[in-house]
């Protein structure tokens, strides 16, 4: 199991999944969505890594 995670929730999985979906939604509609999705994806990855680092 990922160390230190027991009992901790995390918003970053939802954020990253939403971001990936928005990126691809932009492919079907307008690339503005893709750009926003990429920003959200970057934020999600940073948040996940920081959380992982924080919990050891």
């Amino acid at each position: 199991m990922e160390p230190g995670l027991t009992g901790h929730g995390s918003i970053w999985p939802l954020t990253i999944a939403l971001a990936v979906t928005i990126v691809l939604f932009g492919v079907v509609t307008t690339l503005v969505f893709s750009a926003f999705g990429l920003c959200l994806l970057a934020a999600g990855i940073v948040g996940w890594v920081r959380e992982l680092s924080h919990h050891g």
Partner: protein, 712 residues
Amino acid sequence: MIGARTAEREHELDLGLLRWLTTTDHKDIGLLYIGTSIVFFFLGGVESLLMRWQLARPRNDFLDPGTYNALFTMHGTTMIFLVAMPLLLGAANYFVPLMIGARDMAFPRLNALSYWLLLFGALLLNWSFLAGSPPDVGWFAYSPLTEQPFSLGTAPDYWALGLLVTGAGSIATGLNLVVTVVKLRAPGMTPLRIPVFVWMSFITGLLLLWALPSLTASQVMLELDRHLGSHFFDPRAGADQLLWQHLFWFFGHPEVYILALPAFGMMSEIVPVFSRKPLFGYPFVVASGVAIAFLSLSVWAHHMFAVQMGPIADAAFGAASALIAVPTGIKVLSWLATMWGGRLWLTPAMMYCCAFIVTFTMGGITGVHFAMVPVDLQLTDSYYVVGHFHYVIVGGTIMASLAAVYYWFPKITGRLLDERVGHWQFWLTFVGFNATFFPMHILGLAGMPRRVYTYPDLPGWGFWNAVETVGAFGLLAAMLLLAWNIWRSARYGVAAGNNPWGGKTLEWTTTSPPPPHNFAAPPVLGPVRNGVSRLGAISTTTFGVLVFISSEVFFFGSLIAAYVDYRTRSPSGPGPGDLDVGRTALFSLALFASSATIYLAERRLERDDLRGFRLWWLATMSLGVIFIVGQGTEYARLYADGISIDRNLFTSAFFTLTGFHGLHVIIGLVALATLLTTRFTHNAARAVSAYWHFVDGVWVVVFSVVYLWNLV
């Protein structure tokens, strides 16, 4: 035990919606999967009822042809990807950790990511209805129907991209299942003590990892065709019209077993409990599951007999397809032998198990018919096919899942489902199911084609279609009755206690519902061995990366197969001779050298020489950057010469293959940099190192196939 909620659990429950949005608990995620599956089950069910209403009588005009096309596409896609898979993955999520005595899945956050990818992918797919562009190309979306000239709207995009997202989630779930079963079993749970459901979930995880990447790769190629002008499936550019079919069915046939194997596992848990006997031939049941998994990866082309692959290919795939009936038959034999001489307890769960044996066996036997090429050629694209796969998927997966609902509901809620209602619901389901799907065989043999929105008034056609429609509404009534039973029993049902059925597996040793940490004390099944096995020495994180790499091999395998197919297939335009082998060899050397530097970095880390580690780690990053810059300049040179992805088949395959490898290098560089700038563990460094070696290894193959082959 009802009311046994701890203060910790009460606190978690108090968080309400936020808890569900942020949960990483495998039980919550399992319930989210199952709940999502139920919602989409009713959506897919409504789609099927609309189709059945249209087909209830000949020459009906309730639906127009376009709407009918969209409905059968979305019905198939929904039921397979958004109902059956999440239902089974939800059950695996909830029960695998409990059955092996673990606290949670190996990677809880990745587990949550998998679920959210499924949900958002499903929403993207279904957004197409609101956008007025639902997919209408069939659930296997054959090319070239999906190419721009034939599908000008966005319907194939919603199909491909929605499933791309859900597929990524499923691959991650497969990884989590495999790592969880290998690394987190209770002490003493040796391979032959692992519950069959856990074994089957493990094998399903491997199939998800190895079969789904070919679908992912083909969806990527389709989207590149539609948006960047590549030609993977473009007949005007000379594309291989069987490429899509090969890639799709390499995923598509194992998918049948991705849906069936967990159902087999459920059967193997439930039948012994209600026969009050141990499972007959446990080792054979497990071994047959392994055999099914490997055979399922080698029979994909039996879906393609009608395309004239030639007698040798037909014979090989036909024989392999027939062979797969043997391990499947072993399982059926095991369940029957378990029941034989047992003291049968005919609860609704056991009734569904009995129904499963009848309906799934029938689906299996009609499947063997399709392994015989002459029979297949007569029956392909007829209603016989529709009847066959509904007996396999509904008669198999759904029947077993319904058995599992009655069996495990008490563990999840602490209450029993109403048994009397359960028996009514069972018979309604069984009769409704057979009324809906059995006549399809008769209609198929009579020549009725599938995927027609209406049909002529030929003898018997109207009658049997009307019977099917009545049966479908019977199934609806059965499912509504189940929903009511679940709702009512969850509130007012009889208290179940911890182990109402006398189950022998570990989930029955904890409270109902289980506490947040699953067990008051971690279960121990046998003595803890001294010393560490070779597998045990690998950290969970590194093992997870290795499992992921095994999946990546299949993704790159698909891209490489496409490249080999298209390398010299273009009638005109650029070809392999336009590549600069010498120049690419130079920057390839940098990438190959980086495997040595990262190895040296690891060695320094083992000696706690952090300075030396950082130096070699930075050297690895520098070599990776040199490679990427080199590849960038190679692309720039090609573009300057007018060679871009949209030129012909060769450029489509070349840029996609090398581009995806480059993307993997960039991801590796980000991982390397992240590790260097954050607090990290030795295990994390080893995991990143394993990924980097893989990226290098792939380039050895890609460089050989794309560049060195030109020198031969």
